[in-house]
Symmetry: none
Subunit: 224 residues, 2 copies
């Protein structure tokens, strides 16, 4: 999953990022409330870990705001305030789960896994089986009818996202946000290159999946 971490304690941030990346997730982190809101609004993430107390704009305000916007991305509130009243307040504001500091890292990982299981088949024991290919994001191995190959890290992120959105038209800017991160300053032509790479991968593996280009909009992975 691509996870957004909004947490001002940098030491804690580092530890969480380390743990999550070890599980194969992509983590974007920011340390201030307004930055967090800006990133969330781009809807580039599958899960948001949100600290309750933040500089500039607090977690509850952010949460209420994005729910008011109709954004339904799962949010786990992380906070030092553990009283029942506080807990209820957070869930009322639209949190999907609640984690009280200090917590064990395994506790966090378990909750993240639980969240990830909910809506999608994201991690069917690590493999993504779509149409006539099987892809393992963590190792980047793509298996098809007539062969197997290993994708690079960025290719893997890209491929995983396409596979999860089979048949969906994905605008160029959405792809840039999901694959390179919300604030990455990469040239657009980079996207072209990677589309090219992935098409070649699908071909060498003998899949009938193909990436359709929607001119002026973006791309769409299609079967057959």
């Amino acid at each position: 999953m691509r996870i957004l971490l909004v947490e001002d304690d940098e030491k804690l941030c580092e530890a969480i990022i380390f743990a999550l990346e070890r599980e194969g997730h992509i983590v974007d982190a920011c340390h201030e409330g307004d930055d967090g809101l800006r990133w969330i609004l781009q809807q580039a993430h599958d899960l948001i870990l949100l600290d309750r107390m933040l500089p500039v704009m607090d977690g509850i305000s952010i949460l209420k705001r994005i729910r008011a916007e109709g954004i339904a991305i799962p949010v786990v509130l992380v906070t030092a305030l553990g009283s029942v009243g506080e807990r209820v307040g957070g869930l009322d504001a639209g949190a999907d789960d609640y984690l009280v500091k200090p917590f064990a890292m395994d506790e966090l990982l378990a909750r993240v896994r639980a969240m990830g299981r909910r809506p999608r088949q994201w991690e069917n024991k690590g493999k993504l089986s779509v149409h006539d290919v099987i892809f393992t994001p963590i190792s980047g191995i793509l298996e098809g009818q007539s062969g197997t190959c290993r994708l690079s890290k960025r290719e893997s992120v890209f491929m995983a996202f396409l596979l999860q959105n089979l048949g969906q038209t994905l605008p160029r800017d959405v792809l840039l946000a999901r694959v390179w991160g919300p604030d990455a300053g990469v040239e657009e032509c980079n996207l072209d290159s990677y589309i090219h790479f992935l098409r070649r991968r699908l071909h060498t593996v003998g899949s009938t999946l193909h990436i359709e280009t929607i001119r002026g909009i973006g791309y769409c992975l299609e079967a057959g």
Copy 2:
């Protein structure tokens, strides 16, 4: 949405345009009050961002004028004057929302989204199901009784607008303004071409929808 931005600070203009276009909107901008009024009167937009202080003609005057004309397009006033009195004055003049400079870009985006949610008509996600066709603006796919085809970007904008106004007679100048933008310097004959393209599309898809020409006025999409 197609948004009109009337703002004399060019730097700010650029920033706003960048942010809005990133969210998938079409933005037209002008920098003087009289230009702004002229464009608004064409009713080509879904939302107007109006600076209060402008050269030639101030925002409040424009607002009062267009409300007097019976134009109900949502208007967000943008201004440096933030006192309660000023705020009330703006809303009384007919503004739907009020934004005080300096503002965070996200604040602006959120308000634009809030405005856009009101008449759900033209959401990116949703499909447009009219009579015997289903049209998906984001991917430009048109499905009918006997087939499916994909429209180009401009064809899509045009088709979506026609479908949303089934049975309405749409004057040529309104169509030009909505599909190409209020200031687009395109020849009229371009409109003829696209009407032709869309008729062919509807035919190949096997729809009984047809574009009636109202000679001397414009066109009208009709069923049956």
